[in-house]
Every structure is written in structure tokens, then in C-alpha cells.
Symmetry: D2
């Protein structure tokens, strides 16, 4: 019963108050949950309603006494430490508790952490998301899950308060993260593809913006092509949303997964080298739209 489920889990642990974590935590509070929060930079907790959150000094403290712990961290190693470390989640987490792991991490790490939870008597649900901070704030995230069925049942009402759709990818803990890696690759590939096409149009004397508007409202009328299409066509590189060096990290992860899966991906090589070059040229802190689009323009002498 969802009512009782909500009651049981009324208090949730939440670790990671970054650009994504803060709006997600706010949405959980709006949905009626109280949070035990932990963040390396404690002051970030100040952005949350004081009556609805308890600030903890360690991941272990955030996981203590709750049945659900959510993590939204930036890197595999930080998440591993938060779970397995001296002051990690597993030190205190309840038997049968569910760790909803929403960070973008590699499938490897997901599998490793899933095993550690099982050994400890608790559960791990992979639940990475697609969407930027504004989508997180608007409860418009797309959430991919993988793990055991019971964890999915338990997590469902919580995830519904964070996103606009939940898609399941089976029982293997790494599955949802594979989809996340594949999606990040497809976004990068779309950016490169548009930059190539719009530069071709530009060099033929056409207005890049009109070309992007055409595709974004017809064959390619999807958010990726509309939003990034506008930025790429207009060479609009400010403000910096997602940095080129993080886009490069995504490309590296996709490349590594292609190695592990023994699945050659020539377009991954293209976008990997595009962003590696951006970093090498000192553009690591530019928006990834600039990292891709400016690289294509420079190669074409414009």
C-alpha cells in the first residue's frame, strides 16, 4: 500500500547537495518527506527548508535509522567512499534498506556496490536520471532503473516525486547505467552531427539558425535537437551550463564501456577526440556546446 509505504519511509537519507541534488531534495520535501542530509560542503544544506531536514556529519549518520537512502554524487570514487568508507552508508544502514543510487556512474561501480549491499543485507537500486538542474527543479527528470523488483516497488512513489517518467531495464544493477552512458553518447553524437551539418550549411551561404529551426520543428523535433540545435546554430556558448571537460568524461566512460563490452563504436571515437582536443586546447571549462561546435568551426576555417 502506497500510503503505508510513504509512512514507513517518511524519513529518507539524502547524500549529495550539488546542482542536481538540491532541487531534487527540495522536491522530496515538497512531497512530504523529511530528509537526513549529508554533503561534503555542509553549508549547501542551508538551501533546504530547515524544519524538514536534519544535517548529518557523515554518510553513515545520514543512513542511520532510515529505510531509504538516496545518493546523487558526481563521481564513482566519491560514491564508493560514501558507501564503503570508514564512515560510509553500510556502517549503519538498515537490514533490507534500499539505497537509491541516482548518480551517473559506470555499470561496474553499480555492480560492485550492489554486491556490497547484498552482502551487508541491504539493497541497491540503480536509478540514474536524464535532465539538467532546471529539469530536476521542475520534476521533469527521466529516470532509468535496474535492480531487484522489490526495491523498485518501494522506490516508486519516491521516484515519482522527482521525475516525469520511470523506465525499467531489468535486474542487473548495471543496466540502468548502461542506458545512461548510451544516452550521453547519443547526446554528444547529436551535437557533433549538428555542428557538422550547420557548418556545412554556413559554408554554403545559408543561415545556420534557419537550418536548425527547420530540423528542430520537423524530422528532429526532439528536445536535444531543439535546445542544443539553437545553441550550436547560433554559436551561443554562454552561459556555461555543462563543461567541456565533463562532456569529455562522458565520452571516456562511453569509450571504456565500448571496450568492456567488446562493441566497437566509431562515432564514440569521433566525439571523444573532439572533446579531448577541446581540453587540450584549454577549453575544458567552456560549455560543451562550445567544445564541440567551436572545434568543428575551426576545422572548417570559420
Amino acid at each position: 500500500m502506497i500510503t503505508s509505504t510513504n509512512k514507513t519511509h517518511n524519513k529518507i537519507g539524502f547524500i549529495g547537495l550539488g546542482n542536481m541534488g538540491v532541487p531534487m531534495a527540495k522536491n522530496l520535501i515538497s512531497a512530504g518527506y523529511r530528509l537526513q542530509v549529508y554533503n561534503r560542503t555542509i553549508s549547501k544544506a542551508g538551501e533546504l527548508d530547515a524544519a524538514s531536514r536534519t544535517v548529518c556529519q557523515t554518510p553513515a549518520a545520514a543512513a542511520n535509522g532510515v529505510d531509504i537512502i538516496i545518493t546523487m554524487l558526481s563521481e564513482d570514487e566519491i560514491l564508493k567512499e560514501a558507501v564503503l568508507g570508514e564512515e560510509g552508508i553500510l556502517k549503519t544502514f538498515a537490514k533490507n534498506g534500499v539505497h537509491i543510487s541516482m548518480s551517473t556512474i559506470s555499470p561496474d561501480t553499480a555492480q560492485l556496490l550492489s554486491k556490497a549491499h547484498v552482502t551487508a543485507g541491504s539493497r541497491y537500486l540503480a536509478a540514474p536520471v536524464f535532465g539538467r538542474p532546471d529539469a530536476a527543479a521542475a520534476k521533469k527528470l527521466w529516470i532509468c532503473t535496474s535492480g531487484d523488483e522489490q526495491s523498485k516497488e518501494i522506490a516508486k512513489p519516491i521516484l515519482e516525486s522527482l521525475g516525469q517518467g520511470i523506465f525499467d531495464f531489468g535486474e542487473d544493477a548495471g543496466g540502468a547505467n548502461v542506458v545512461k552512458v548510451a544516452g550521453n553518447f547519443m547526446i554528444l553524437a547529436s551535437m557533433e552531427m549538428m555542428a557538422e551539418a550547420y557548418t556545412l550549411a554556413e559554408k554554403n551561404g545559408l543561415d545556420r539558425t534557419k537550418v536548425a529551426e527547420f530540423f528542430g520543428s520537423t524530422l528532429f523535433n526532439a528536445p536535444i535537437f531543439q535546445n542544443y540545435g539553437k545553441l550550436i546554430a547560433g554559436k551561443q556558448y554562454q552561459p556555461v551550463g555543462f563543461k567541456s571537460k565533463l562532456g569529455y568524461k562522458d565520452a571516456r566512460i562511453a569509450f571504456k564501456l565500448s571496450q568492456q563490452a567488446e562493441s566497437p563504436m566509431p562515432i564514440v571515437s569521433i566525439v571523444h577526440n573532439r572533446l579531448l582536443s577541446a581540453v587540450a586546447k584549454g577549453w575544458g571549462d567552456t560549455d560543451w556546446v562550445e567544445g564541440v561546435s567551436r572545434g568543428v568551426s575551426e576545422d572548417a576555417g570559420v
Copy 2:
């Protein structure tokens, strides 16, 4: 005035009754136009309402006595012959008549034909389309135009009876064809991208179809990713719609335009070599979805 315009142009020449041309001609007849049709294989004219069409023996005959001639042919050379040949359009076409050229041709050819028309005292409007035969039948084509403004005004009601949207790309006759080439490239790149991503998912133990459904209903909810995504994910290669060897031709045209425009396009190289390999392997007559997707699968040993 559209009424008078329609009256003036009530009879139209129409050349090219292939898979695209027939449904387009039918829509023109439904819209009240009478057609002077020419096709290499004359019998194709039998698919059109007999009362609404006159069958001609040459392009020159089809262009005789009308102010508008539409062409929908499969190759640059065939179109050149139909315009410039011994029995070509220019032999009979009216002063100030408008040739609406809807075939997929290179920008070069468009510019050459435009000049020939101007020299002859008539006009050329590039109007290539995006859409397969079923879209043509449903008046759902996307039409790109380029050429002089007066031709666009004259062509407008006619094009509106053929498609769901008209997008203009300026006065250079080749402009609309550049957009057509860029769009074909983006479709091919999307196919390769999906084949790589879904094969990665497959080799990680995921269900390709579920992954395609997820992307097609979220970040990539555009027709290209939904329709081709389903075929690629399901390795559904029958029936043959558009052949691999024609997809290869599109890739060659994109590559050539990248050379002419001095605009390097690394993803064009990838899809070009993918389809060149398909042709080399003897898959030229398979559907281009097979040409791309099976190639990616074989490289990954699945």
C-alpha cells in the same frame, strides 16, 4: 490572389511518376489541378485519374502550354536531360514559367539548371522534400525552397497541396538542396548512432527494443528516432524500403559537398565507409537499416 493564381495555373506539367511522383500527382489532381504528365515508363500514368491528366511523349510536350512544370526524378543526370535535352523542358516552356524542381539533386545541378532557365527567360525553384512515399500520399511532406521570391509566391498554393510545411532557404538556387543533403546526412548519422548505442546495450545484456523505446519517447522523441529506432533495435530489415546503395549515394553526395564547401565532416566519413562496406559485402539491395545496423552488429561479433 490565390483563387486567380489557381485559375491561371490550373493546368500543370508533371514529370516523374515514381514512388514519390505518383502520390504527389494524385494530390495535385485532388486539389483541382489538371496534369500534363510525362514518365519514361508511360504505363505509370494509368494510376492517375484519366479525366485529369494528359499523357505526353516527351518532357518538352509536358511543359508546352503551361506556366508551371514540376519534376520529381531520381538522379541529377536524368533531370538535366529532361530540362536541357533535345526534347527537354526548355524547348517549349513559357516565358516566365516556373519550374518547381522537387527531386533530390546536388546544389551544383540546381545552380546549373537555374542559370539555364534564366537564360531561356523562365524560372527555376528548388523545392526538394523530406518524406517517404506514405508521407507523400498523406500530404505530409516537408518542403524546402530556394530561388527567386516571385517563383515562391506562384508555387505556394501548389506546394501547400503536397506537404505539411514549407521552409525557405533564400535566393540561391542550391540552398534548399544543401539542406536536403544535410538532412540526409543527419538521418544516416542518427541510424549509425542508434546502431552503435543499441549494440552496446545488447552486449551488456539489455533488451535493445526497450532501450529504443525509452529514447524514442523521451530525449529523442522525434520520428527519425522512433521509426528507424524501432527497426534498428528489432533488427527488422524487411520489407526493403530504401536501399543501402541509395543510402550510400546520399553519403557520397554529402561527402562531395563537404569537399566543395571545404567543411570537414568526420561523421560523414564514418557513415560513408559503413555503407560503402555494405555495398562491398553485397548488401546493396538490402534496406539501408540493414546496411547500417548489420554492419555495426558484425563488427561487434553479434
Copy 3:
């Protein structure tokens, strides 16, 4: 008998007094031949010993009254004109005369010209060369031949006075040109390969020059790696020997042959796009070493 052969052919037609043609013509004169020369810029004939050459006003005149005509021109179209044009070789050339065609042209053109000669009752021998002007002057060219056996016999003593080795590639007129295209590709690929490797070394803190010296004196102790290796390692881009835009033309020819032969060549795509980018950046008139090496350096931010 070579002596009689030499006597018979003591007078030779020679068309094309460019950077390669002049030293080759001088070597023929040194070997005892008298030349009927034609060059678009007639003044170039002044570099040859006056007693040993007759200056002609047309290709037809140069081919008149001799059994052997040699061509060394820069482009397919120019050679076609020199053979097939109004004042071309075929207008005057002797029955059974042998046209030794030493220009770098496409296999297509070679086959077309071979047929034209056969139709006219004369013969065509493809004999493209590897080597720069200094190698031509030193009689150090490598010569590849293809065509009928009798032509090869007749041409042998003449070719021996121009190069250090003759290698035969069969009867198809295009064969030797395929080898020439393949060799140009391998040179370009070697240049890109070295630029990548030496930039990797540089970014690891090593001395590029020492690395190039090592490879050039051990595993890769061949002229290509020694000569170009030194220039690439030292980023020595002056003086301009062979221009980037001509290197780009070589890459285009290799790419086109890969299309015609249905033989995918991914490294051709890499070097093609490298030089296309060089041309797009305005480096078309730089040495091709700069076109390749500077492109690799810029991509690496150095």
C-alpha cells in the same frame, strides 16, 4: 637489340616541362636522345641544351615523326587535352608509336587514353613515378609500368635512363596508376602517423627529434620516415616543396579510388579530412608537411 632500339627511337617527343619534366628531359638528352618538346610555357624549353631539342607549338607537333612520346603533366584534364584535343598527340602520332605516360593520373584516365590509342592504332604505356624533382635529376626515380608487353620492351632503355628501378604491374593500363595512388596514400598516412606519434612524445616531455631519429634509424629506416620524419619532428615547414593543396588532391584521388573499387579505407578518411581542414584553414599553399603536422599540433593544443 638495345643499340638498334636506341637508334630507332633516337628522336623522342616530350610534353610537360615542369619541375619534374625538366630534369627528366635533361637526363634523356644526356642519354643521347634528341627531343621534340612542347610545353604550355614555351620559355621553359630554354633550360634544355639547344642543340638537342626542337621546340614545338602543339602536342601534335611534338608527336609528329617520332615513335615515342613521353608526357609528364600535372592533371588528368591537361593530359586528356594533350592526347585527344584539336592539336593533340593522336592527330599526328605514328602507327604503333608508344605513348609513355608518366604523369600522376587516375586509373580511369589511363584506361580511357589507352583505348583511344588502340583505336587510333598506337599504344599507351602507363609509367608513373615516385620521387621528387631532386630524385628525377639524380636518375633516382622509381617507375611503375602497366600496359602491353611490347610497349614495355620498347620503353625499357628510355625508362632506365630516368630511374633507378622499373616495376611492372600487368597489362591493364590503369594498374601502375593504382600503385601510384596507393603509394601516395601510404606516404600521407605515414606523415599523419608520425605527426601523431611525435606530438604524443612531445606532450610527454620528450624531444621529438630524438624520437624521429630513433625510428628512422631502426624499425622505420626507410626514406619516407627519415626525410619526412626529420621535417615533421622539427616542425620544419620551409621551404615549401609539395603544397598541402596538392597533398589534398592526392587524398581525394585515393578516396575516389576507394569508392570505385568498393574498398573502405578508414585511414584515407583521416588524412583526407586532415588536409581538407588544412585547405579550409587557408594553409593550401603551405608545404604538406605543415598541412599535416601543424594540424595535429593544433588539435593537441601545442
Copy 4:
């Protein structure tokens, strides 16, 4: 003084009796050295002259009481264990002793081990080699060194008894390994380049072998092009010398170094994906000539 140096180091530790290690150890014995050998599979020591070697049970034992220890192992991790492990070299090695590390390892590992030696009061000299087992047996290895100058002086007579040339790449311990990685990349790139060129020739009706002979005796008259060229041209894939999966490992290492150095290398991507595909197709245990060449052939449908 070299004489006294030889005397001092008359007894040397030697770890790693694989395909390369055995012939190298034999050459050291021939040069008058006595060896303390360690190998995981002890029986391999039986191939060495019994009077000249002492068999040890651990790396620590092999390093005990000598001033020089040589390692020739197959992987970074195995070497790290042999140096840093419970029974590793550092447990017993002499102050100021020189570890001559001849394995193919990453620059990272070299730097890490160098630091560990310095901390322990001993020295580390990187000395990776180019050459296959037959070259090792014939003392024809090419040896690259990097490290401190004194170590190089001490190692010189020993290395001279193993190879035909020593090339120095500075003081940074990782330098020589960067050159080794770069060289392995250049070999792989040369193989791919030849496979592409010879397949192009084949599809144009030429004899691959003749084409390879031409290049191997003219512009590309270096061992790499002669030896591999013959195998590639003849599609001679037996016996298996160096496995495709090891070639793939080399490509991965080159790719990783390109990432670490922020130096984009498009041809690395090509050869990486070529061998990744070979492994994915189940060809991991074939000779790497087959891994590369058969892949190119299949893509071309031959």
C-alpha cells in the same frame, strides 16, 4: 672503468623467463654473466646453462646480493608485484643497486616504480626493447633507455650484450616507455595502412604480393614494411606469432596515453577499433596480422 664494472656486476638477478626472457638470459650467460633467476614457472630455468644460473624461489631472492636486477615480464601488475610485493625485489635489493626494467609497461608504472626505488635507496632504469624473440636470440634488439645517468653508465655493457643499439630518452623514468608505446602504435598503423592499400590494389585486379614487394624494396624499405608487408599481402596468417588480443592491448595502452597526454590521435582510434572488432569477432588468439588484415578484407567483401 668498464672492466671493473663487469667484475663488480658479474652476478646479475634476472626475473622473467618468457619468450623474450630466455634468449636474453642466454645472451647474458654467453657474455660471461652468472644469473640468479626467478620465474613463476620454475621449469623454464632448465633452458639455461646449469653452471651459470642459480634458481631462486622469489623475486626477493633473485635480487639478493647483486647490484643489478633485470626484469622482463608481461604485464604492469606482475612487475609491480615483483618489485613491491611481499617477496619483491625491494625487500632485499642492494643500496644503489640498479633495476634494469625491460618489460613493455606504461610510463605511469615506470614512474611509480622509479619513485619506490629512490625511496628505498636503489635505482630504476627503464630499458624497454623493440624486437621479437628471434631478434632477442640474435642480440638484435633495439633498446630505449630513460632514467638517471649513472644507471645508464652501469647498465651499458650489459645492454650491449643484448641488443644492436641503445637510444637514450632522458632522465624521466617514463620516457623510454613512451617511445615504446609510440613505436607499437606506428607498427599497428603501418599494418592497417598496408592492409588498406593492398586490398585496394587487389580490388583493382593487381597482385597484392607484387605491390608489397615494390613498396618494401623502394620507398618503404624498412623491416616493418618488408616483414609484415609480406604477411599482409599474402594473407599469411600462420603460424601465430603475436596474438590479436595482445595487439589490442597495445592499442589500448596507446589510446590511454593519448588521453593522459591530451594528444588526440585519430589513427589510434582506427587501429584500436580494428582490433577491438577482431577480439569481438572471436579472433583474439589469431596472429595480429590476421586481426588487422582479415578485418580490412571483410569490410571490402573479399
